[in-house]
């Protein structure tokens, strides 16, 4: 199974309180401390690092691309920055500022994306404009010299587009990330069943989907059983990356790992707190050693057996 270590900067409510995330983030302000964590991650068969564009962690990976067998997965856009800018400058102002911060070359690439879809651009279609915003955060990947990186659309943007039934948005995102950024596209969501239902309508099964999958059924809408069936179906498409599979308060990581393995999960997110816990390390390593169904992203746009619930 593919294991991806999460940058604690991405930790979000309700899984960890902000005041508990802070000490870990402060501990990891120095590169050598991060390097120690990445050494441990590589030793446990972790192969990916989920972080933000422009983060210290991504800079470290860029500086030493061959030191660790780790591939970056960038979560875009930086929704907290976007929200702060929107409070200050309004939504349109925030978008304009984001684009103006880009280099001229990347602005031209965005312009080319708009020219490919002139009708949508003229009408300021959500599907195009939000993709432009998201993709503008992904340009940092252009400097990555290693194996094919991943780009994950932040769950708040995925779920906003989903709430408005923007199925073309997802098709455009997947094409832009794989075509323009040459990266593996993934969609993060808290509404997995409904998202796969919408993707089924568009016939696009290429994306990997990052979503909470846990034995408690927490955030597995509309209910655990239905969500489990949808997860099993999606393994034949892009595959599922499980986050929050081992929840704080659970003392049985082996049982939690067995739960996601039985669902045919392609990958799992590992939290730093668990990586630093000696008792949990063997279970993480075993999970990394375990086989998982090979997703077939970007081989074609067909879809296989997606849940029809929406």
């Amino acid at each position: 199974m593919e294991l991806i270590l999460a940058d604690p900067a991405l930790s979000s409510q309700p899984f960890l309180p902000q005041e508990k995330i802070l000490p870990t983030r402060l501990y990891l302000t120095r590169e050598e401390l991060w390097a120690g964590i990445l050494d441990q991650a590589a030793a446990l068969n972790i192969t990916g690092i989920m972080t933000l564009p422009g983060s210290k962690l991504f800079s470290l990976l860029l500086k030493h691309p061959n030191r660790w067998p780790l591939t970056p997965w960038l979560v875009i856009p930086d929704v907290y920055q976007l929200a702060r800018d929107a409070s200050r400058y309004g939504t349109t102002g925030a978008a304009a500022r984001k684009i103006l911060r880009l280099s001229l070359w990347n602005q031209l690439r965005l312009g080319a994306l708009m020219l490919k879809h002139p009708g949508q651009a003229m009408k300021l279609k959500f599907e195009l404009m939000m993709n432009i915003l998201a993709a503008s955060d992904g340009f940092g990947l252009g400097q990555w010299p290693g194996a094919e990186p991943g780009v994950i659309l932040h769950h708040q943007i995925t779920d906003l587009a989903l709430a408005f039934d923007q199925k073309n948005f997802f098709t455009l995102f997947i094409s832009a990330i794989s075509g323009m950024l040459k990266a593996r596209p993934a969609l993060a969501t808290r509404n997995f069943t409904r998202l796969t239902g919408l993707l089924a309508k568009s016939g696009d099964g290429r994306a990997q989907i990052l979503t909470p999958v846990n034995a408690k059924g927490f955030l597995m809408q509309p209910d655990r059983k239905t969500a489990e069936a949808a997860v099993r179906s999606w393994k034949n498409n892009g595959g599922v990356l499980a986050e929050f599979w081992h929840l704080p308060g659970s003392d049985n990581i082996e049982a939690d790992a067995a739960y996601i393995q039985n669902l045919g999960i392609a990958g799992a997110i590992i939290q730093i707190e668990d990586l630093r816990n000696t008792r949990k390390k063997p279970a993480i390593k075993r999970l990394g050693d375990s086989p998982s169904p090979q997703p077939s992203p970007l081989k074609g746009e067909g879809i296989s057996g997606a849940a029809s619930s929406s």
């Binding site: 900067a9 979000s12 409510q13 309700p14 899984f15 960890l16 309180p17 902000q18 005041e19 508990k20 995330i21 802070l22 983030r25 402060l26 907290y80 929200a83 702060r84 929107a86 409070s87 200050r88 400058y89 309004g90 939504t91 349109t92 009408k123 300021l124 279609k125 959500f126 404009m129 769950h155 708040q156 779920d159 906003l160 989903l162 709430a163 408005f164 039934d165 923007q166 808290r190 509404n191 409904r194 846990n214 408690k216 059924g217 927490f218 955030l219 597995m220 809408q221 509309p222 209910d223 655990r224 929840l247 704080p248 308060g249």
Partner: protein, 347 residues
Amino acid sequence: MNKVKIALAGLGKIGLLHLSILKNIKNAEVVALMDKETGAAKRQIEGLGLDIPVFDSVERMIEETQPDGLVACVPPAVNKAMAQACLAKGISLFIEKPMAGSLQDALAMTGLVPSQDAPAHAVGYMVAHYPLVQKAQELLKQNHLGQIRHYRASLYLAEVFERHEGWRQNPAISGGGAVAIVGSHLLYLVQSFFGLPHEVRARAIRLFAQVEDIACATLEHENFFGDLHVSWSRPGYRDMGFNISVEGTEGFLELNEASLAVFRYQDHQKDGWQVYYPWDITTNAPDHLEPGQMGYWAQDNDFIQAISERRPAKVTWEDGLKTQKLIEAIYRSSRIQGRGFALAELG
């Protein structure tokens, strides 16, 4: 079942979030939108492929579409005008927090609510809908900690680190800074857990602009007191983080956005902690569309069902008014260099 007809005013980031939720509540129908930037709002709505009329005036929107309820996502100083437009027509009104730009406005708004057959009215303190908050409220109501002796409450956000322009920094529109705009969530929790104090001693600190960025306060209740700290200039808090710890004669409680820990002194010899997590006490709702930001779906759904069932919403304007009194008391005390300000003076 007749659908609840909803209008929404203000299509900024929060307005868009509410629209995305309201559109997905089964017995709600969004019939109209209003934004002072009508052209941009129309383009945004057309860009989403939605066919909902956009108005430039709330009165005209109400006149033409006759909604059952209105969700107002506008700056606090505009809420009074929203209330005047809605309540005269018997329309339910949800307003984003804080309730108003001033205590005077909040009092005027509650004065508009008829004493009988009042339409549902709500304030957007989404923290009230966190399952852990509800559990803590329940335990405190049951006197699980015995008599309260002291509490400490803090709320932090990493948002303001330089001088900003915009309505949030204009007290005439925002009604204040960190205390009113983000700290009001914590003040709502404090008043709902412990009631209103009789006296407040507070200091507010400005780092960057015309409004406060940090505030500290001591709240004196009848038999106990609380300490409060609020900042929107706190590095490291990408998401809003809060913490409330309560010391009682029989136990201790600590609540934050991710867990609720309770310790009963009588159980000290057998590891007396009981910890609750959201996944222990949350149930999935079949038609719930999770927006990824806690509490928002639950509060919008509560408002719609309150209209439909003709019952009060979970967070009423009375709750909003109490919170507004606390905001005012903190500002009044800070204006007299932290000397005690009695809430009785507020009427």
